[in-house]
Symmetry: C2
């Protein structure tokens, strides 16, 4: 479930992380860092059915600790502990889950999360729109192919549940059942609702009419006219904000990739408003035109109640955030690199310092020291008298573009011969 | 013992880590990554007296796990598991110790280590010299003030113990007592040797004559002539290599900061050859000329036996490595920043998109979207109608250098007013 990452892996991952962090910084986020270890009680009651996946440590002298499950709950605790009411931050770090790892789908027990969050009381939907813009920028920058960002609102879902006659105590559990609609057909979701969750068949069918809808501004307008839903205060609020969100996304020029999708529920307990999830699309094959989803690569939403849970006086700080699923993206790009046969360089060495004759170790050591001091990335073989062929072979194996050659003649003349490893061109300088 | 890191902290730390990683890459190292969780048995028996500081996890279904204590043992396990006999790698990551944290001295239960290691069978002392060059480069690049790098060799120490009549079974424990010489006077170390460790007073005194010596090539030559030490095979080997090391360090031009110091022992069990430690120096006060050490900021050494402990057939891979004590360095630089009153920027935002009148949110959203798409780091206030003064104040508070101002007139003219926040100069463009 955990694994070592060899150099080719880390080199590619660092490239991905750099793209993500560059985007987070472009949006003015500051970085914070919280410990891997949290008090167990900090994590309990935040993750719904997933609480059982939390890694627990042995009793450390009265302290019951656990490994963090995500970066959102520690962020909320951080805000509350430090009485911060206003912050835009990113955090790129590993989280831990005692899951049965599905390693082929890029799921492990230890994996990176890349989070961007905006905390504070602001005018509605401006920060929410920025989160969606960020997802759009990152997925475009990474050139992952076609994608769609599904958007919904917990208030709309709760409104739907209410008008379908579901008691409020069953909203969260119904939510996590709806959330399975991306992995199983409606019939199965319906039977879980009726069988396991105890909803009436009529209520389930009624829910089904709503949660299978998706569209854009037109659908928002249509639901705002829906005689039952428009009577529900929560749903009306959510639909009004959804309309505002689409206005802002139009100004950002990204509505082409956004789908208002009532089946989107997201499993975590702490969401309170807008929720969203980005999925990559792939043409199924040449005969079928409909693209199929190859999995979620980013998600997030608004969680206005979480910070208050850590504040002794319950003071709330509204928050909205996005998490980029870097491990999933990594698996896809890794497969692509493999298929293309591209060789990922694992070092950045610019020049190998070489000697063509024996007894020239001192000359190599002096030259490489000068290169390092000048900030040039340089290597040499750790042998007293390596063969020139071996040295040049090392350049080819590792992708070092230049060899600096110093022999007796060069030492006498006070020059260095620089060889382009690929073209074999040489200059003395 | 663990702590949150606010933005100003992370910004400064990232600056330090970037310097360290740049140096590691300059020397051609590739990055690997290993999990925070290791099997408990991997870690036991490697850290001498510090084994009690290892954090243990609850039984995870038959797997007894622990949090890594350093990055060296996981690296050795990685080499053995993957049958790698040759590698230059760096790893920057957090490690965990159940220590009583001395937070004023920059010691915590969760902290970064920055390691560079060279594994492989090579001609003697070339990789070892490179490790010392790396320490020299990093401490110079960070401009931490004067420093000295103490060097010794476990073989020389063991030779000293042997000629002083200590049985081999007591070498490691004697070593960890000698290691305390940088924190307590010889008299106390001597009494621990005689009292707790059970050495004879004569043997302890004899050891004392050696371990209080320090110098350069002259001292190496002197010890090579020492009638007893030169008869000891291990000591002779170590002294011969030490001489070679000083030759290479002379070619690197860094012997001015290197001290061959027989009191240096280093506590960890796994060292087998050269060991070293860098300490920062500080003039004690104006009256005393002798600089005093303000603590160790880097250390390392050769551990030729560790990989073999993880190989089922015991195959050895010689290794030498260095660890940069980034947390200690951080405390020093943090104090310096505090004293200077310098304000560390926590974001990199280049421009704030502002409007001077009401009802211009759409204009701001359109402009900021264009800036982001052009790769420019931009922010705006998340308010529909913020006051211009508030917006400019935000620039001053966060150090954003430019404000892009669009009002009715600019929209009509199709231009943007760009304002330098410090000089208040404005241009329309």
């Amino acid at each position: 479930g955990t694994r070592d990452h060899p150099p080719a892996h880390v080199a590619l991952r660092d490239r991905l992380l750099a793209t993500v962090v560059t985007c987070f910084k472009r949006h003015g986020a500051a970085a914070i860092d919280t410990p891997v270890l949290e008090l167990r009680e900090t994590l309990t009651g935040k993750y719904g059915e997933d609480t059982k996946l939390i890694y627990e440590l042995q009793d450390q002298g009265g302290e019951l600790l656990a490994l963090r499950y995500d970066l959102t709950v520690p962020f909320a605790r951080y805000l509350a502990m430090n009485k911060i009411t206003n912050m835009k931050r990113y955090h790129v770090a590993k989280v831990y889950r005692r899951d049965n790892p599905a390693t082929t789908r890029g799921r492990y027990r230890e994996f990176y999360q890349c989070d961007f969050d905006i905390a504070g009381q602001f005018d509605p939907m401006i920060p929410d729109a920025e989160c969606l813009k960020i997802v759009h920028e990152i997925l475009s920058d990474l050139q992952l192919g076609d994608f769609i960002i599904k958007v919904n609102d917990r208030r709309i879902l709760n409104g739907v549940f209410a008008v379908c006659g579901i008691p409020e105590s069953k909203f969260i559990t119904t939510c996590s059942t709806v959330d399975k609609l991306d992995k199983m057909p409606w019939e199965e979701v319906r039977s879980e609702m009726v069988g396991e969750k105890g909803l009436s068949p009529e209520a389930a069918d009624h829910i089904g009419e709503y949660v299978q809808l998706h569209g854009g501004l037109d659908l928002i307008e249509q639901l705002l006219q829906d005689p039952k839903l428009s009577q529900n205060k929560l749903a009306k609020e959510g639909l009004g904000d959804m309309k505002l969100l689409f206005e802002y996304l139009t100004l950002f020029g990204i509505t082409g990739k956004i789908s208002f999708d009532l089946s989107l529920a997201r499993g975590l307990d702490y969401y309170t408003g807008v929720i969203f999830e980005a999925v990559l699309l792939q043409p199924e094959n040449d005969h079928v035109e409909e693209p199929v989803s190859v999995g979620s690569v980013a998600g997030g939403g608004r969680y206005d109640g979480l910070v208050g849970m850590f504040d002794p006086k319950g003071r709330k700080v509204p928050c909205v955030g996005v998490s980029i699923g870097i491990e999933r993206i990594f698996s896809i790009l890794e497969q692509r690199v493999k298929a293309s046969g591209e060789k990922v360089r694992t070092t950045e060495t610019q020049v190998l310092v070489t000697t063509p004759q024996k007894h020239l170790l001192a000359a190599r050591l002096k030259l490489i020291s000068e290169l390092w001091d000048a900030g040039i990335k340089a290597e040499m073989l750790y042998k007293k008298d390596p063969k020139l062929l071996k040295q040049l072979q090392y350049c080819e194996d590792t992708g070092i573009p230049l060899a600096a050659i110093i022999g007796e003649q060069e030492l006498t003349d006070g020059v260095v011969k620089l060889r382009d490893v690929t073209t074999r061109e040489e200059v003395r300088m």
